[in-house]
C-alpha cells in the first residue's frame, strides 16, 4: 500500500501512479427529497450510454424527506454489477452522515464534497484520501434566483465535476440531460448550465490525483437499464392481466403504478373510451387478495402487488384460493422482515412464507426471477400457470431486483397465445351430456389432478356450481365425509406435484473439474459470476445450479448433489429458507450431508466477496 500523501492541496498537481479504467464504485451520500435522484440518474445513465456495464442502487430510508440516502453506481468493464463491498469514490452531500461516510472509506479512496456545506476537517484529519473539495453552492449562485431551486440544482455540479475528473463523454451527458427533461427546454438549459459550472470548476481548480477513468466501450449492445418492477409490469400487460387489487407498500408500489401507467396508454378502447384494465387501490391487503380471487374465479386474469407484511395479511385468503382452486397472481417484492423490519432494504425472506402461505396443508407455485429479463418473462407466464393449475401463483422479486437499475436485454415481443387452462364452454358441456358423462367441478378426469371449471355466466343448465372453502366433494357439494375430504386433498396435492416439471426449470452452469457446487436463486444470482471468478482465482472451481421456482425440480437438485462433494446454498435470509425446502426433497442417501450454506441478511444486497469469502472459509477449514 502506498503511504498517504502528506498534504491534500487540490491545486497541487500530482500524476496518479496507475490508471484504473472502467472499474469503480461511486457513492453519492445525500439527503432524500433534495432532488439528487435526477442528477444521480443522469450520471448513471451517461455511464451506461457510454457502453460501460453498470448497475445503480438507491439505498434509501423509510422516510419522505430529510434522512440520509446513498446512491451507488457500480461501473465494471467485466460486467460485474452486484453491489461492491469496497467504495472507490464518495460524493459527500449530506452533513449529517459526512463524518461517518468519510471514516468508512478505505485508504486512497476518492472523496468529492460540497465544501460550502461540509467541513474539510474529516478529510484532512485522515490524510490518506484523494480529496476534491468543491464549493458547489458558489459555483451556481448566479444561475438561479430561487434558493429552493438552487438546492436541487447543486447536485448537477457534482455530475459536472465527475464528468471532468472521470472523463465522461460530454456529448453523451448532454443528450441524457435532454432526454431526462424531455421537451422542457428551460429545465434542460438550467441543468446544463449547472453541469458546465461543475466541469469548469474542476478544470480550473482540481488536478487529477486519482487513478480512475471511464472510457467508452461497446459492452452494452442493445441493452436497456431498467428496474425489475417496471419490466415486470410490462410482463403483466403482455400476460393479459385485466384486474388488479393492490395496497401501497414498499417496495412493490412502483410495479402497480408502472402497470397502471401502461394500461392508461395501451388499454384504452378507441371507441368507448373505456379501459381494458381495472385497478383498485384497496383498503388493505385482505381486500386486495379477495378482489384478485373474485376476479380470477369469474375468469379474469387478476393480480396483486405486495411485500412481506401483505403476504402475512393475505394468508387466509391464499389458503382459500388453494383449496377452492381459484387462479390469481401475487407479486411479492420482498423486503426485510420480520415485522415491519427494514421496509426499504432487501432480503429473500418470504421464500417459505409464500410457498406454504396459509393454515392447513398447502403449497403454492412460486416463481423466483433473477434478472429484469426473468421479471418480464415470469410475470407474463405467471398468469398461464395460475389458470392452468387453477391456483394462486406467487412471483417473488426483492427490493434489490425490483427497485434498482439493472442492465437487461430488451424482451422480444411475443404472439404466444394465453394458456387459459381447463374451462368448459356450453358446447363442451353439451358434448359431455351427449356422452352420458357428468361434469364435476372437482372431478379429476384427466389424471393430472387438475379438474375442469366453468365460469359464472355460462348458461348451460349443468354449468353452475357452488364454490366454498369448507369441505366439498367432486361435485362441489358440502361434505364432511372423511374419505371425501382426504381424496380431495390428495388430488390437489397431485395437481401441485405436477407443477414441478412444468415450472421454469433450474439453470445449470458447469466448468470442467469442479467438485464444489453452489445453489442460489433470485437476485443473489447477480453477484454469482463475480463470486465464482473470485473462487476460481483462489483455486476453487464451482458449478452453479440456479433455482427458478418452487415446488422444486427434485431430479435436478438430486443429480446436482450426487455429482458434487459439497454444495453451498447461498441465499439472503437468516434461516436458510430455500435450503430447508431443498432438504425436504432430497432423496439420495448421503446427499443431505453435503449441504453447506452462505447466508447474507444485513438488508444490503449481497456482494460477491461475501459469497466467495464465505465459501472459501469453509473450504479452507476442511
Amino acid at each position: 500500500m502506498n503511504p498517504p500523501p502528506e498534504t491534500l492541496t487540490p491545486t497541487k498537481p500530482q500524476t496518479p501512479a496507475r490508471v484504473v479504467v472502467n472499474d469503480l464504485s461511486i457513492e453519492v451520500a445525500t439527503v432524500n427529497g433534495t432532488g439528487s435522484q435526477s442528477a444521480n440518474n443522469i450520471l448513471a445513465k451517461s455511464l451506461f450510454r457510454m457502453g460501460i456495464p453498470i448497475s445503480a442502487k438507491n439505498l434509501f430510508p423509510s422516510n419522505i424527506q430529510g434522512l440520509p440516502t446513498w446512491f451507488t453506481i457500480r461501473v465494471n468493464k467485466d460486467g460485474y454489477t452486484a453491489r461492491k463491498k469496497e467504495l472507490d469514490w464518495l460524493i459527500g452531500m449530506n452533513a449529517a452522515t459526512w463524518e461517518k461516510d468519510v471514516a468508512a472509506l478505505r485508504p486512497l479512496a476518492v472523496v468529492m464534497w460540497n465544501s460550502n456545506e461540509l467541513a474539510d476537517a474529516p478529510v484532512t484529519a485522515r490524510g490518506d484520501l484523494v480529496a476534491y473539495p468543491i464549493p458547489m453552492n458558489d459555483c451556481i449562485k448566479n444561475l438561479a434566483a430561487d434558493a429552493k431551486l438552487r438546492k436541487m440544482l447543486v447536485n448537477m455540479v457534482y455530475v459536472g465535476a465527475a464528468t471532468q475528473l472521470l472523463g465522461l463523454d460530454e456529448t453523451v451527458v448532454l443528450k441524457v440531460i435532454a432526454d431526462n427533461f424531455k421537451s422542457k427546454q428551460k429545465a434542460i438549459d438550467i441543468n446544463v448550465q449547472c453541469l458546465r459550472a461543475g466541469i469548469d470548476y474542476a478544470k480550473a481548480n482540481l488536478s487529477k490525483q486519482d487513478p480512475y477513468r471511464v472510457e467508452t466501450m461497446n459492452a452494452n449492445g442493445n441493452k436497456i437499464l431498467i428496474e425489475g418492477n417496471t419490466i415486470a409490469a410490462l410482463g403483466c400487460l403482455m400476460g393479459g392481466a385485466t384486474v388488479m387489487g393492490w395496497y401501497p407498500i414498499t417496495p412493490s408500489s412502483s410495479l402497480a403504478e408502472a402497470l397502471i401507467a401502461l394500461a392508461k396508454k395501451h388499454r384504452v378502447d378507441g371507441t368507448t373510451g373505456t379501459i381494458r384494465f381495472a385497478d383498485v387501490q384497496c383498503e388493505d391487503e385482505l381486500a386486495s387478495i379477495g378482489l384478485v380471487l373474485g376476479a380470477g374465479w369469474a375468469g379474469a386474469r387478476s393480480m396483486t402487488t405486495t411485500a412481506g407484511p401483505g403476504i402475512s395479511l393475505m394468508s387466509e385468503f391464499v389458503g382459500f384460493g388453494y383449496y377452492a382452486e381459484i387462479p390469481g397472481v401475487i407479486f411479492d417484492v420482498q423486503r426485510v422482515g420480520p415485522s415491519t423490519g427494514l421496509p426499504t432494504r432487501t432480503a429473500q425472506g418470504d421464500v417459505t412464507a409464500a410457498a406454504f402461505c396459509s393454515h392447513g396443508d398447502t403449497e403454492h407455485l412460486v416463481l423466483h426471477p433473477c434478472s429484469p429479463e426473468e421479471c418480464y418473462e415470469f410475470a407474463r407466464i405467471s398468469f398461464d400457470y395460475a389458470e392452468q393449475f387453477q391456483t394462486p401463483v406467487f412471483v417473488l422479486l426483492d427490493l434489490d431486483l425490483g427497485m434498482n437499475f439493472w442492465m437487461s436485454e430488451p424482451p422480444q415481443f411475443t404472439n404466444e397465445p394465453f394458456k387459459r387452462g381447463k374451462v368448459l364452454s356450453p358446447a363442451q358441456l353439451d358434448e359431455l351430456k351427449a356422452k352420458g358423462e357428468k361434469w364435476g367441478r372437482y372431478l379429476d378426469v384427466d389424471g393430472d389432478g387438475i379438474p375442469w371449471r366453468t365460469l359464472a355466466g355460462n348458461p348451460h343448465p349443468d354449468a353452475a356450481y357452488f364454490t366454498r372453502g369448507s369441505g366439498h366433494d367432486e361435485q362441489a357439494r358440502y361434505s364432511e365425509d372423511p374419505e371425501v375430504f382426504k381424496r380431495n386433498l390428495d388430488r390437489i396435492k397431485k395437481k401441485i406435484e405436477g407443477s414441478r416439471a412444468k415450472l421454469p426449470q433450474p439453470v445449470l452452469d458447469t466448468v470442467p473439474g469442479a467438485k464444489i457446487g453452489i445453489i442460489a436463486y433470485g437476485s443473489t444470482n447477480n453477484a454469482m459470476r463475480e463470486a465464482r471468478d473470485q473462487l476460481t482465482a483462489a483455486g476453487v472451481k464451482t458449478d452453479y445450479l440456479r433455482l427458478r421456482a418452487t415446488p422444486l425440480a427434485t431430479d435436478a437438485i438430486d443429480a446436482f448433489l450426487k455429482t458434487h462433494d459439497r454444495v453451498y446454498v447461498v441465499e439472503q435470509n437468516r434461516d436458510g429458507q430455500m435450503e430447508l425446502m431443498i432438504r425436504g426433497v432430497v432423496t439420495t442417501p448421503g446427499s443431505v450431508d453435503k449441504i453447506r450454506h452462505v447466508r447474507h441478511y444485513t438488508g444490503f444486497p449481497v456482494d460477491a466477496r461475501s459469497i466467495s469469502d464465505g465459501i472459501l472459509a469453509q473450504e479452507q477449514r476442511r
Binding site: R49, I224, L225, L234, L237, M238, G240, A241, T242, V243, G245, L262, K265, H266, R267, D269, T271, T272, G273, T274, I275, R276, F277, A278, V280, C282, E283, L286, A287, S288, I289, G290, L291, V292, L293, G294, A295, W297, A298, G299, A300, S302, F317, F320, P410, P411, F413, P417, L455, A456, G457, N458, P459, A464, Y465, F466, T467, R468, G469, S470
Partner: protein, 345 residues
C-alpha cells in the same frame, strides 16, 4: 331456455324451481329462511337470468344461505367478512353478472367492517343483504356489534356496549341505497329486494332476522316478539316493473315516485310522515329519532339512484368483459412495445 313442463315460467323463460336452491340446513323458524324465500320470489318475478347471478358470502349462518337459493346461479362462499372484496373482483371480471352478497352482522359489522365500509363507499353495483340477528349463532350465542346496549344474552349477560347502526353508517359513508327490513315482513321485503336489484350501485339491505335458537328470549332486543312489537314502518314501498302498470296514480305530495335506471319505478309512500328518501339529513334524523324512542325503523330510508356505480366511474365496462379479453385486447402493438423499451436505453 326451459324444458317443456307444466311449470309456470317467467318473462325470461325460467321456471320458479330454477331460482330455488338446496333445502335449508338452518334452524327451524330461522329468519334467514324467510329472506331466502323472498330472494327466490323477487328474482323469479323480475326475470333475472339465473346463470348471470353470482351469490357471494362470507362465513356464518347467513353466509350459508346462498346455497338455498338460485341453484342455477354461481355461488362463491369466501372467508369471514370478506364477501365485499370477492364480489368486487367478480363484478370487475364480468360486468354482466348480477351480484347478490349475503352477509351477517358478525361479517359486516365486526370482522369485515372495513370491507363493508369500502364497498358502500365504492358503490359497486350489487345487492348487499345483511341478515342481522345481533348474535353469533355458529359459535353459540356471543353478542355481535349490532346488539343494543342493555340487551340480554341467552345466558343472562347484559350487553354494555352501544350498537352499530349499519343504516346510519351506510348513509354517512356515501351509500346510495339504504334500507332496513324485517324477516317476518314478507310484503315489505319482496319490494325491497326488487328495488335493490333494480338499483345501480350498492343496495344495502339491513334485515333484522331473529335467531330462534340464541336470541329469541325475554330481554333480547332482536327476538321475533320484540321486533314485531317495535317495528315501525317508515314507508310503504311499491315496486313497479317496466312491464307493469302502477296500481294507482301517484298524486303529488302523497308519495315519491322514483324512476330506476332499468325502467322500473319505486313508489315510496310515507307512513304518518313525509320523509323523502332522497333527503340524506332527513334520513339520519328519522333513524336517530326512532332510535331514541326504542323503535326499529324499517323501509327505504335513503336512496341516491343517480350516483354512478363503481364500474361506470372507473370506465371499465368494455364491449367485452375482462374475463373474455384475449391477446389482441391486452397486448400493445409490437412497435409500441419496442418503442417503450427503447426509452430505457
Amino acid at each position: 331456455m326451459t324444458t317443456a313442463t307444466n311449470e309456470k315460467v317467467n318473462r325470461s323463460g325460467f321456471k320458479f324451481s330454477d331460482y330455488q336452491g338446496l333445502p335449508t340446513t338452518l334452524c327451524k323458524g330461522c329468519g334467514h329462511d324467510n329472506i331466502t324465500r323472498n330472494i327466490v320470489q323477487a328474482y323469479f318475478e323480475l326475470g333475472i337470468e339465473p346463470h348471470n347471478v353470482v351469490k357471494t358470502s362470507g362465513i356464518g349462518c347467513s353466509s350459508k344461505t346462498p346455497a338455498y337459493f338460485i341453484h342455477r346461479g354461481y355461488g362463491l362462499n369466501s372467508v369471514h367478512g370478506r364477501m365485499p372484496s370477492v364480489s368486487i373482483g367478480a363484478k370487475l371480471a364480468n360486468h354482466h353478472l348480477q351480484v347478490i352478497g349475503v352477509s351477517g352482522d358478525g361479517d359486516s359489522a365486526s370482522i369485515g367492517m372495513g370491507q363493508f365500509c369500502h364497498m358502500i363507499r365504492r358503490n359497486v353495483d350489487m345487492v348487499y343483504v345483511i341478515e342481522n340477528n345481533g348474535v353469533y349463532g355458529l359459535t353459540k350465542g356471543q353478542f355481535s356489534a349490532t346488539s343494543e346496549r342493555g340487551a340480554k344474552s341467552k345466558v343472562g349477560e347484559e350487553n354494555y356496549l352501544a350498537d352499530i347502526d349499519l343504516c346510519a353508517l351506510s348513509i354517512t359513508l356515501g351509500g346510495t341505497f339504504v334500507a332496513r327490513g324485517f324477516s317476518n315482513d314478507a310484503k315489505q321485503m319482496l319490494a325491497l329486494v326488487k328495488a335493490a336489484v333494480a338499483h345501480r350501485g350498492t343496495a344495502m339491505l339491513d334485515v333484522v332476522s331473529p335467531c330462534v335458537t340464541f336470541n329469541n328470549h325475554e330481554g333480547s332486543t332482536k327476538s321475533i316478539h320484540y321486533v314485531m312489537e317495535h317495528d315501525i314502518r317508515l314507508n310503504e314501498l311499491g315496486f313497479v316493473s317496466p312491464w307493469e302498470q302502477p296500481a294507482a296514480e301517484v298524486k303529488p305530495g302523497e308519495a315519491v315516485e322514483i324512476p330506476m335506471p332499468d325502467g322500473s319505478h319505486l313508489v315510496v309512500r310515507g307512513v304518518g310522515n313525509h320523509h323523502d328518501p332522497h333527503d340524506k339529513l332527513g334520513a339520519l334524523q328519522v333513524l336517530e329519532e326512532s332510535r331514541k324512542k326504542g323503535e326499529i325503523l324499517t323501509g327505504l330510508i335513503y336512496i341516491a339512484e343517480k350516483e354512478p356505480d363503481f364500474n361506470t366511474a372507473m370506465k371499465v365496462n368494455n364491449p367485452k368483459t375482462m374475463a373474455e379479453m384475449n391477446e389482441a385486447d391486452c397486448r400493445p402493438a409490437k412497435e409500441s412495445f419496442d418503442k417503450y423499451l427503447a426509452s430505457f436505453r
